[in-house]
């Protein structure tokens, strides 16, 4: 009996080897334009990743119903990174090797984006990230294949500091979380303050997942800070807003663009009123004048998205995905027919780099060999929450 077992194992192995080898030899070329996407659909950044995924799904439908790209149907293969940097690397590798996509959009977060720079560059495939860190596209000589569409933390903080300077505020306190996003923001806040005549009197931190910032805020209220700048995601920022209200801290609270969704307002309740933060114009689309080049894109995106997913569901995060996929689609539209995969990837990369004055949801983009973000100044708006609604602070 034993020897039959062993020989059948050998037989199975040999047959498997031949079958697998045979299967992989024949690959039929396809008519479909395949693009890959990696988003944090679950995990701590899922409130960014889910609208990104939803936006992509919406766009693919719209494009295919209109006949595709030059007649080619568009397929976007979306993988969930689960907020895990290693999984992101795995999924990106899978998209490149197995699914053989022409371009990749995402990931959602800076940490994951930084982690795959090597992989993308070695594989020579264009990527448009949806994350904030400036290190994703700089130094641009080492980021030949990588682009991004969201504003960097630096631009957001510049808006805040410019506003504070205009309001003659000189002493502030900052509170940030210890995640990649929070730490990156904190670094820029500390580094750039002096340029705007601002002194940081107190620098407090908390961990993502902390449930009370009362101690940190108590410490801050012992200083003469005229304003608090909080650099964190929506959940913790909501707790900061709530705790500031508990402590009767009357000074204004400025937050990061991480609170650019309704979840913050729902969670912070009354404490959300008066909070000011920089974000894309998507949140205040109705106040954008008709003369603004972004008006049409913003209005259409808002109407289409909310028609599909419900009122009040838009966020700037979905907007980043819209911009990312749009630039890829624009490059695909310009691409010649009949290219093989390597040539196609190169063509798309070149196409993205040549984009000029593209009015997206996050801003107006002009890419170039020296700038793979290309966002024109004035793309961000300072927004204040009044009565639970977003209003544009001009």
């Amino acid at each position: 009996m034993r020897k039959y077992l062993k020989s059948s194992v050998i037989l199975v192995l040999v047959v498997a080897m031949l079958a697998i080898g045979g299967m992989n030899c024949t690959q039929a070329p396809s008519d479909v334009y395949k693009v890959g996407a990696v988003f944090d659909i679950t995990g701590p950044a899922s409130n960014l990743g889910v609208p990104e995924k939803q936006t992509v799904a919406m766009m693919v439908n719209q494009i295919n119903e209109a006949g595709g790209i030059n007649g080619h149907p568009l397929e976007v293969i979306v993988y969930d990174t689960e907020g895990d940097a290693d999984k992101t690397a795995m999924m990106v590798n899978r998209l490149i090797e197995q699914d053989e996509v022409l371009a990749i959009i995402g990931p959602t977060r800076s940490g994951s984006s930084l982690a795959i720079i090597d992989t993308i560059t070695t594989a020579e495939i264009p990527q448009v990230s949806c994350a904030a860190a400036i290190g994703i596209v700089e130094p641009v000589e080492e980021r030949y294949w990588i682009f991004k569409t969201p504003q960097t933390d630096k631009e957001a903080i510049t808006e805040i500091y410019t506003y504070l300077q205009g309001a003659n505020v000189t002493d502030i306190a900052i509170v940030s979380d210890t995640s990649g996003f929070g730490a990156a923001g904190r670094d820029i806040l500390l580094a750039d303050a002096a340029d705007y005549g601002i002194t940081i009197l107190d620098d407090q931190t908390f961990d993502s997942g902390d449930t009370s910032m009362l101690s940190q805020l108590t410490h801050i209220s012992g200083t003469d800070a005229e304003a608090v700048v909080c650099w964190s995601t929506d959940k913790e920022s909501a707790i900061v807003a709530q705790d500031m209200q508990t402590l009767h801290m009357d000074i204004p609270l400025f937050c990061s663009h991480g609170i650019a969704n309704m979840a913050f307002i729902d969670a912070a309740g009354d404490a959300a009123n008066g909070v000011i933060f920089p974000a894309g114009k998507l949140l205040i689309v109705d106040e954008v004048p008709a003369s603004d080049p972004q008006k049409e894109v913003l209005t259409n995106y808002r109407d289409d998205f909310e028609a599909l997913y419900g009122e009040g569901t838009i966020s700037t995060f979905g907007g980043h995905a819209y911009d990312a996929l749009s630039v890829v689609v624009m490059a695909l539209e310009q691409m010649d027919e009949g290219l093989d995969i390597t040539e196609a990837r190169t063509a798309i990369r070149d196409g993205i780099e040549q984009i000029t004055d593209f009015a997206g949801t996050g801003g107006v983009f002009t890419m170039s060999p020296t700038n793979h973000l290309g966002m024109a100044p004035g793309s961000l708006a300072m927004i204040e929450i009044v009565d639970g609604e977003w209003t544009w602070l001009q």
């Binding site: 961990d207 449930t211 508990t246």
Partner: protein, 297 residues
């Protein structure tokens, strides 16, 4: 640090410490009666808060019934967990039981992240009595924080009375002192274990229900809460509810003051690490006595 500030740190420390104390009570009860460390304790807290939000917002149950119902459901889950997972693993080794409770914790966390309509987002159930903070001797306290501290005190007192003056309570204490002796006087160890689990789930859920409006909640809050609650229980020596509560309050106040003192390694970024170091020190200092206890059971 001014006097006002000190009082404020004390109040925030008491608030968060009460939360740790409630979590810690669950650990203490289960450990005392069964010698098991229930790594899923933090998840009961999470479930309390999540269930209350679900009942209030998705099902439309009014506040008070929703809170009670959440705690009851959690208690039932505790009973089911004991019956299906712990009791069936007869005479399992200590590692097995540890891993089983970890498995349960991970299981609850995953399910919580999937079955509720808001998925992995965070949610905030409504405050019990509004959000206007109350001024107290120069410091402020949120009304929900008063609920948290008050609930912890009430629960502790009730538990103490229960253990000292009721038959079941005394039977539990007997098991805690010596399972063998308790068995000899006819106390059913398995029934006591079941009660311990139900009580632990109940207290955990009460904690969750009362803190969620203030701290927000989501599917993954169980881990760190459980860990901090465990530190509270270990400071209290896993002995009595009162010791556990003192442990929790101490931990909360120490962590709050650490932020206030703002010295060197005690920056706010390291406060979780400090809690763990406190834990390790306690364990190592007591290691001799703890080892004897383990060997005795």
């Amino acid at each position: 640090m001014s006097a006002d500030q000190f009082l404020q740190y004390l109040i925030s420390g008491l608030t968060i410490g009460s939360i740790y104390a409630l979590v810690g009570l669950g650990f203490t009860i289960i450990y005392a009666v069964t010698r098991i460390i229930n790594f899923a304790q933090g998840e009961f807290v999470m479930l309390g808060g999540m269930l209350s939000f679900y009942l209030i917002s998705s099902v439309g149950v009014p506040l008070a019934p929703a809170l009670i119902l959440s705690v009851l459901i959690a208690a039932m889950i505790g009973a089911i967990m004991y019956t299906l997972a712990i009791r069936t693993a007869r005479r399992a080794s200590v590692i097995s039981l540890i891993i089983i409770t970890i498995g349960a914790a991970v299981f609850f966390r995953g399910i919580a992240g999937e079955v509720f309509p808001w998925g992995v987002d965070f949610v905030r159930p409504p405050y019990f009595t509004g959000g206007e903070s109350i001024s107290f001797l120069g410091a402020y306290i949120h009304p929900q924080a008063l609920w948290i501290i008050g609930t912890t005190l009430v629960v502790t007192v009730l538990l103490h009375l229960f253990l000292s003056y009721t038959m079941v309570g005394k039977a539990l204490k007997a098991c805690a002192i010596s399972p063998v002796a308790a068995g000899m006087v006819g106390i059913d160890a398995r029934a006591m274990a079941l009660i311990a689990f139900v009580l632990a789930a109940t207290f955990g859920a009460i904690g969750g229900v009362v803190m969620a409006p203030l701290t927000l909640t989501s599917y993954n809050v169980g881990f760190m809460l459980g860990l901090k609650g465990f530190v509270a229980a270990s400071i209290g020596g896993f002995k009595s509810p009162i010791a556990t509560v003192i442990g929790g309050l101490t931990l909360g106040i120490v962590m709050s003051l650490a932020v206030g003192v703002d010295w060197g390694p005690f920056s706010s970024a390291y406060k979780d690490a400090i809690a763990m170091i406190v834990l390790l020190l306690i364990l190592l200092i007591r290691s001799g006595r703890l080892a004897e206890e383990e060997r005795a059971s």
